[in-house]
């Protein structure tokens, strides 16, 4: 299309390194800022904003998982467990010590990072399938410990009510206020990830993913970087858990069970492993899927099933659709939505003269 270059025309390093290589990029960024800062919060009503909020939280967690799985190549089936660690840490601090969110949030993240690093220790010796199952074990073990330790889980029902976060002396109550609260963290996480993956650490992660023995030979301390990757990834997960806790107003281990870990894996697979844009697309896609499905099926399904059956039918349809999508993406488009987006962009780059 007219606004994109059709080849490489750069003649200086400055042009090559430019943050916005084309004027269109600057405009696009400005447009996105306006869209998210003004248009969305003003145009959407409470319900749709709450959906967008869920997407924003999922983006934080999925970015963390993609750092571990997509960039470092370590498989984790226990992401949700780290979220629960963050959630319960923050909830206990907020309830017992009355700490504000800007202290509980990093505290939850750090606690999750610590636990994540401990879980990551075996990753030096075991890899691949054994590691996947070891993280699965840590998911079940953390879940069980939280559920069976009243000091952590707050006793009955294993759930803790948390007070609403306060900002400048005012409670963040409505979905609109929550939106800006969550948007801040989602943007922060995105920028942090983008910068992380092109730093020394990010390059080391990619080297480990591609061949860990080769990475060790060229002087990367793989033990340190694998642990670091687990810690960073779990930090994101912890923060994501804290955000869920503030969003729902309650910390409950049932929101962080193995199915959630799998949802997050699905997000990064569908979005594209090792891609920040893909993570965002995938998180949006997987979070919206059940909501859109419910909206679509509730009026339609009523024609065939009675109300009692319908909810279980919708849940099952979601499972089936979810599984089909994962398999479809893996078989047909392994690089996910990110790749699809690039294909579309490249097609239009020299459109309509694509030869």
């Amino acid at each position: 299309m007219l606004h994109r270059e059709s080849g490489v025309f750069k003649t200086s390093y400055a042009a090559d390194m430019a943050l916005y290589p084309l004027p269109i990029a600057r405009k696009a960024v400005a447009l996105i800022i306006v869209l998210f800062a003004v248009v969305l919060p003003l145009s959407l009503d409470e319900y749709y904003l709450s959906v967008v909020n869920l997407v924003l939280i999922a983006i934080v967690g999925a970015l963390g998982l993609n750092i571990l799985v997509g960039y470092t190549g370590q498989i984790s089936v226990g992401h949700a467990a780290f979220m629960s660690v963050g959630a319960y840490t923050a909830a206990n601090l907020a309830v017992h010590l009355h700490l504000p969110f800007w202290l509980t949030l990093p505290a939850g993240g750090l606690m999750a990072a610590l636990i994540g690093a401990i879980v990551g220790i075996p990753s030096l010796r075991i890899k691949g399938l054994y590691l996947a199952i070891a993280t699965l074990a840590s998911q079940l073990i953390i879940e069980w410990i939280i559920n069976h330790t009243p000091a952590i889980s707050g006793g009955a029902q294993a759930s803790i009510q948390v007070p609403r976060p306060e900002f400048m002396g005012r409670e963040i109550k409505t979905q609109g206020q929550l939106y800006f609260f969550l948007l801040f963290f989602a943007v922060l996480a995105t920028l942090a990830t983008l910068n992380l993956v092109r730093s020394r650490i990010g390059r080391a992660f990619v080297a480990i993913r591609d061949q860990d023995i080769a990475a060790e030979i060229i002087g990367i301390n793989i033990f340190r970087y694998k642990l670091l990757s687990f810690a960073i990834s779990s930090f994101y997960a912890g923060v994501c858990g804290v955000l869920y806790t503030y969003y729902f107003g309650i910390a409950n281990y049932e929101a962080f069970q193995i199915g959630v870990s799998i949802d997050f894996l699905a997000m990064i697979i569908i979005g594209g492993l090792g891609s920040v844009l893909g993570t965002i697309l995938g998180a949006t896609f997987v979070t919206m899927l059940p909501i859109v499905l419910r909206l679509a099926m509730e009026p339609l399904g009523g024609l065939f099933f009675n109300a009692g059956q319908l909810s279980s039918i919708i849940a099952s349809t979601r499972l089936i659709l979810f599984g089909c999508l994962i398999i479809l993406f893996l078989v047909v488009e392994p690089e996910g939505l990110n790749r699809l987006w690039r294909n579309i962009r490249n097609y239009f780059r020299v459109w309509p003269f694509s030869y």
């Binding site: 010796r125 075991i126 054994y130 199952i133 979601r318 599984g323 078989v331």
Partner: protein, 297 residues
């Protein structure tokens, strides 16, 4: 003192018999991994699917043996198709791809019953009665005895198959080194399909036995979660390992349920095997009998 001993003994025996039944399911897992390097996170769902097929067939007044045969046939066809459609395109791709594909498959299978035959719990009653078998001071329910017999029979058949039969030896060759096997004129893809089909048979029998013990609904798929500690403890690619791992996990969870549950309020059964597995992995990263992989750059 005597009571104490008898209690421990009955826990151990019951654990051993349950453990052998875990081994039966774990066998399906190991067979597939050994031959094709694919890990099957949907093993529990395979078992569940077989349970549903058998239960629905029994509900339609099909004789028991025919119902079991139908379950076996369905599972074999299903595994063949699965290998063809999903797993073959994933050959040579990163491990996470195969793991996620089977997880996705598991999600599909768990969703299917509710929209096809209805998700309510079904009984799968085999004509073996309810009177427990008595061995001295120990009582065993008949279904557990049946499970033990079926597992032992299958272990015998598998040993014969892998040690003596032409196909079994070819399959071992494929598991050992796919390229060399191909060079020796073995049709590797056919043996991949065969491995999946055998996993299907094992899952079908596992589904019938576990289904009649626990009742058939989507919860039956949770048996699959028990398979992981079993295969990791034993080593992912060892059939002996699957049996030994199954016995260890069965005994550990039975003892944990008997001795620890009263103190911590239940649930140790699902938790103890995983702790044991993590500890074992620290010392033996490839399980008790698994092959060490030598990696080259």
């Amino acid at each position: 003192m005597w009571d104490e001993l008898q209690f421990s003994l009955s826990l151990i025996v019951s654990g051993l018999s349950i453990g052998l039944m875990y081994s039966l399911i774990a066998l399906g897992f190991v067979l597939v991994y050994k031959a094709t390097d694919a890990i099957n996170f949907a093993q529990g769902e395979f078992v569940m699917l077989a349970g549903f097929v058998a239960a629905v067939a029994l509900g339609d007044k099909v004789p028991v043996l025919a119902a079991v045969a139908i379950a076996v046939a369905v599972m074999v066809v299903f595994s063949f198709a699965l290998e063809r459609v999903v797993l073959r395109p994933l050959l040579g791709r990163p491990i996470v791809a195969v793991i996620m594909a089977t997880i996705g498959l598991g999600a599909i299978l768990r969703g299917l019953p509710a929209i096809t035959v209805g998700g309510q719990t079904r009984a799968l009653s085999l004509p073996i009665g309810d009177t427990p078998f008595v061995f001295g001071p120990i009582f065993l329910p008949p279904i557990q005895v049946l499970g033990v017999v079926v597992t032992l029979a299958f272990l015998g058949i598998f040993s014969w198959f892998f040690l003596k039969s032409r196909m079994g030896i070819a399959m071992r060759a494929v598991a050992d080194n796919q390229q060399v096997a191909m060079a020796m004129g073995i049709n590797v893809e056919r043996y991949f399909a065969l491995a999946w089909a055998m996993a299907g048979i094992v899952s079908a029998l596992g589904g019938v036995i576990w289904g009649s013990m626990l009742g058939v609904d989507t919860q039956l798929a949770l048996v699959g979660l028990k398979v992981f500690p079993v295969v990791i403890l034993g080593g992912l690619d060892s059939i002996v390992g699957a049996v030994v791992g199954g016995l260890i996990v069965g005994v550990v969870e039975s003892l944990a349920a008997g001795y620890l549950d009263p103190y911590v309020g239940g649930g140790t059964k699902d938790f103890a095997p995983y702790v044991l597995m993590i500890v074992a992995l620290m010392f033996k990263p490839y399980g008790l009998f698994g092959t060490h992989r030598i990696e080259r750059v």
